[in-house]
Amino acid sequence: MSQHKFLSGTIGGFTHALQHALESEELARVDGWLQRLDPRVKLVGLLALVVATAASRKLSVVLLIFAVALVMAMASHVQWKTLFTRVWLPVLGFTGVIAVPAIFLTPGEVFWRSPFGVVHVTHAGLRAAAMLVSRVETAATMSTLLILCTPWTHVLKALRSLHVPVEIVAILMMTHRYVYLLIETANEMFVARQSRMVGRLDAATQRRVATRTGGVLLSKTVQLGEEVHLAMQARGFRGDVRLLDQFRMETRDYAALMLLLGITAAALYVGH
C-alpha cells in the first residue's frame, strides 16, 4: 500500500468510526419501539435475553431469540445493513477463528470427508460451530440494539438505578468519552502528519512511524482524558449520573418488560 493510501485509509477509518459514534446518538432519539421504552426495561429485558442465549443448549432456541432481535430492530428503525456491518460481520470474523477449527477437530459422526481422508467434518463439529457463532451473534445483536436505541447517559443512569456501583458507572462514562477523544486525536494527528509528508516511505519506515504515532497518541489521549475528568469534577461531578430526563414506568413499559421476560423464561425452559 502506498504511503498516501496508508494514511488516507487510516484517516478514513477514524472519520468513519467517529461518524458511526455520532449516528448512534441520533438513532437513539428516533421514534421507535425500543427508543420509547424506559431505559431500565431495555437494560433488564435485553440482558435477560442475552443470559437466555448463553444458557440455551438448543440451536433452534438461540435462532428464535435471534429472530426476536431482528423483529425488535425492525420495530426500532435499526437497519439490518447497520447490524450487518457493525455486528454480524465483525463477530463472524472473530468467532470464526475459534469456530472453524472445531468443525474439523470435534470427534463424532462424519458428515464430509476430504479426498484421501486428510480432513473430515463431523456433525458434532458443525453443531458446535453453529452454536458458538449464533450465540455470540445473538448476544452481540441484543447488546448493540440496547446501545443504538438508548442515549449513552440513559444507559448509565439505568445502571445506577439498578444499583450498579458508582465506580463502575463512572469508569464506563469516562471510557465512552475517552473513545471519542482517541478517535478525534488520532484523526487530527494523521491529518497533520499527512500534510507534512512528501514522497513515499518504505514499509519499515511506515511501521516505525505507526509505532511512534501509536505511543504519542496514547499519551496525548490519556492527558486529555484526565483533563476531561478534571473539567467534570470542576462542575461538581462526584461519580453519580444525574440527568434532566426522569425515568417513568408506563403501561407499555410494564407490558414490554413482561414480554421480554416471558420470552426469556420460555427460552430458558425449552432450551435447557
Partner: protein, 274 residues
C-alpha cells in the same frame, strides 16, 4: 466555610511539581472578595497550575491554600457539604473548551453543573435558559457541542460555568484562539463584572486585555509571583515585562538605522516604547 472572611483565597508558600518538574515554587498571594485579578505570565509560568489549585483540582506538595479561611485540601474536598459549597461558589473555564464539553447537546452541557448540585428540574431549566440567552447561544440548545465552531464552543463552556452563578470565576486564557467577534464578546462579559459582585481571576498573557478586565495584577515567572500592582503600574514597567517575557524585543529600521525595543501587541495594532 466562612463567607464573611476577608480573603477569598490565601496561599502561603505553595510548591507544586509535575513529576520532578517544579511548576510552583513557594508561591504566596491573597485575593480579596470582589477583586478582578489578572494572572500574567508567559507560557509555562505556572498560571494554569495555579488556577487548578484554586479550583481544588490539584493540591500542592507543600504550603497552604485557604478558601474563605478554610484549608483547601483533598480531605476537605471529600467532605460532601464542603465540596458542594465550594463547587457552587467557584467555577473554572478551561483554556481548551473541548475538554469541558462532554454532553450530547448544548442544553445538557449547560445543565450538567446544576444537576450535579441537585437542583430541581424546574430550577435547572430556568437557569440553563437564562445562561444560554446571556451568552447568546440559545439557538444552539439542541446542537452537539463538539460540532460547534471554536467561538461557539468557548461560549458554551463559559455558559456551563456561569449557569451556577458562582461567586468566584476562574478563567484560563479566555480569549486565546477566538476570532475577533468572539473575543470582543468575552471581553465585554469580563468588563461587565466590574461591579465587584464576583471575584474574577483571569490567567492571560495578552497584555492588551489587562486594563479592561482587571483591577490588580500578579506577574508570574517560574512558579513565583514576580510583581503585584495595578494594571497601570505593571504595564508601565517595561523592564519587568521584558524580564518576564510578556513583551519581546522588536527589531526594525528607521532612516537606515536598525534598532530594537520592547513591543506589545494591542487591539488597535501594536505599540512600541522607544
Amino acid at each position: 466555610m466562612n463567607p464573611s472572611g476577608t480573603a477569598v483565597f490565601e496561599i502561603t508558600g505553595l510548591n507544586y511539581r509535575y513529576d520532578k518538574v517544579p511548576a510552583l515554587n513557594g508561591l504566596s498571594l491573597k485575593i480579596g472578595r470582589g477583586e478582578r485579578i489578572a494572572l500574567l505570565g508567559a507560557n509555562g509560568s505556572g498560571k494554569s497550575t495555579l488556577l487548578r489549585i484554586l479550583d481544588a483540582l490539584a493540591f500542592g506538595d507543600k504550603g497552604e491554600v485557604k478558601f474563605f479561611g478554610s484549608p483547601l485540601t483533598p480531605q476537605s474536598m471529600e467532605d460532601e457539604s464542603f465540596a458542594y459549597d465550594f463547587r457552587r461558589k467557584v467555577g473554572l473555564v478551561f483554556q481548551n473548551p473541548d475538554v469541558q464539553l462532554f454532553n450530547p447537546t448544548v442544553f445538557d452541557e449547560v445543565a450538567f453543573g446544576p444537576l450535579q448540585m441537585g437542583w430541581t428540574h424546574g430550577k435547572v431549566n430556568e437557569a440553563v435558559t437564562r445562561a444560554l440567552e446571556g451568552m447568546e447561544i440559545a439557538h444552539l440548545w439542541d446542537r452537539a457541542p463538539h460540532r460547534l465552531s471554536g467561538g461557539e464552543k468557548k461560549r458554551v463552556a463559559i455558559a456551563s460555568v456561569l449557569v451556577l452563578d458562582p461567586e468566584v470565576v476562574l478563567l484560563d486564557e479566555p480569549t486565546v484562539t477566538l476570532d475577533p467577534k468572539s473575543q470582543s464578546q468575552v471581553i465585554d462579559l469580563l468588563v461587565d463584572w466590574k461591579s465587584g459582585a464576583k471575584t474574577v481571576i483571569t490567567a492571560t498573557h495578552q497584555l492588551e486585555l489587562v486594563d479592561a478586565i482587571a483591577d490588580k495584577c500578579f506577574v508570574m515567572q517560574q512558579g513565583q509571583i514576580m510583581a503585584t500592582g495595578t494594571p497601570a503600574e505593571i504595564l508601565s514597567d517595561g523592564d519587568l515585562l521584558l524580564r518576564t517575557n510578556l513583551v519581546h524585543s522588536h527589531r526594525h529600521t528607521h532612516d537606515g538605522v536598525t534598532h530594537s525595543h520592547p513591543h506589545v501587541h494591542g487591539p488597535g495594532g501594536h505599540s512600541h516604547t522607544h
